[in-house]
């Protein structure tokens, strides 16, 4: 009966703020994410989209409701759900190679095999020659490529991405998006991707969710069924794309403005 890869059932999340008052970040979110989906989540900042991601990851516990992955409730983090953050996904004390092999090491993969797997991801991410470099010696884009390789090397069932390209410059970002799409098209791993960039969300996702301002709920849910080859350079100039972008942006804008008012009052 349950064909969803990830099922979010009525998830509510309340924090106690520093002032001591309760803040509801998420209010009863329910979602079904089928296998092979590339779900992108957009919304105004502070709407709880990252919180939702962290709950799926098992890092935070929902105040109410639950998340099922492959029909099994999430109780904590696990290697079945890989995560890439905007920053800080890499261990600064490990070299590029050691970072990529980290997860394999943790799963008890023998050394020789680890090296071999890691090497294939080094190639895939075009990181050859940097095996022995430490993260601080790499550019932001390269660091994120390593982070992606680190996560992919564990072959997770689901990849959670928390604004992974948010800190990159525009060009690098574009290249990384293309890279990610290429990967997804090869492997079709289920991806949940949080961003504040509407264009990115439409370009990458097979389905876009717009969240409301705090408390976060699903405001708009739209499958992306543009029948265009996404590797074409003029993809984003396509009329259908522009329309979609406008529709989703209006949704987001409404929430941003509403959030501004909430904050002011």
């Amino acid at each position: 009966m349950n064909s969803a890869k990830v099922e979010i059932r009525d998830v509510t999340k309340a924090f106690r703020s520093t002032g001591g008052s309760q803040v509801t970040a998420l209010a009863g979110i329910s979602l079904r994410i089928p296998e092979n989906e590339f779900l992108t989540v957009v919304g105004p900042s502070g709407c709880g989209k990252s919180t939702l991601l962290y709950i799926i990851g098992g890092f935070l516990k929902a105040t109410r409701g639950e998340v099922l992955v492959n029909g099994v409730p999430v109780t904590g983090p696990g290697a079945d759900r890989g995560i890439v953050f905007q920053k800080y996904s890499l261990f600064p004390w490990r070299t590029v190679m050691q970072n990529i092999t980290y997860g394999l090491e943790e799963q008890g993969v023998p050394r020789a095999e680890r090296q071999e797997i890691a090497r294939s991801y080094l190639r895939l991410m075009r990181l050859e020659g940097f095996e022995r470099a430490y993260p601080r010696a790499l550019s932001g884009g390269m660091q994120q490529r390593v982070a992606l390789a680190q996560t992919l090397a564990c072959e997770p069932d689901i990849i959670l991405m928390d604004e992974p390209f948010g800190a990159l410059d525009a060009q690098t970002r574009k290249l990384m998006q293309v890279e990610l799409l290429r990967l997804w098209e090869q492997r079709r791993t289920t991806i949940i991707f949080v961003t504040h960039d509407v264009e990115e969300a439409i370009y990458l996702g097979t389905r876009v969710i717009v969240m409301t301002a705090r408390p976060g709920t699903v405001k708009h849910d739209e499958p992306i069924a543009l029948n265009i080859a996404r590797d074409k350079e003029d993809y984003m100039l396509n009329r259908a794309f522009m329309e979609l972008k406008m529709r989703i942006w209006l949704n987001v804008k409404e929430e941003v403005e509403r959030y501004g008012e909430v904050a002011r009052s």
Binding site: K13, A14, R16, L60, K61, G76
Partner: protein
Amino acid sequence: MAQGKPRVDVDMASGSREPAARRWAALRWLAAGVAHYFSVLLFFGLWEFVARSGWVNPWVFPPVTVSLAEWGRSLATGDIFHPMGLTLLRALGGLTMALGVGITLGLLMGRYRLVEWFFEPLIAIGFPAPKIAFLPLFVLWFGFFNTAKVLIVFTSCIFPLTLYAYHGARSVDRFYLWSALSKGSRGFALLRKVVLPAALPHIFDGFQVALIVSFIVAFVAEMVTGGGGLGFEMIKAAQDAETPRAFAMLFTISLLGYGTIKLAEWLRALLLFWHIEHEAH
């Protein structure tokens, strides 16, 4: 902040609670309070037991209750307040002087190459020098009474203060400096208006270190060179074989230090409200 278990979850509480649960929470809170001082109680209990067990001469190592009673007595009669005041005066006097000189010197070192060149090796060498060995000489150089003691506190505190201020000044983001320079700030004004506030978190680190140093050094200076104060009273009590009184002096300095540490933390939160460190919590 600190949670048992790995910090998988960062939120503090979740949802509303039933009244029964709330009662439980209150009970837990109470238990936590007792647990908080459990180690101190245990330590005192152990002390009491050992002192009364006959393993040591109880006049040499008196039970903690006897020492606490003597402490209570000296608090009640007020005869501890005069030495306490003296020690505080010396510690804070020396610290205040060191604050003025150390911070200025540190900031200048951070901004001016010549100052840095001259003082850096002196500070680097002077920091690990055992200041306590110079105590008798300080008395010889600067006389009795408060001068020598205030100066030895000053000498001991100035190293951490200068060092932290220096590193603070050096780590000021150059964009702040450029921004201020482009608006016409120069020389001392630049130091005071940009470098000092930007280096303040570092300076405060140094202040918190120096605060403890000032108490310890003032106390030890009184132990070694006399002239009243908690340290002197402790040594005198030890010489007169009045060990409980010696412990009372130790309790006093420990609590006094504890109080000022807390005060400094409070001050830090008050003064550095704009600094990023508060967003972390």
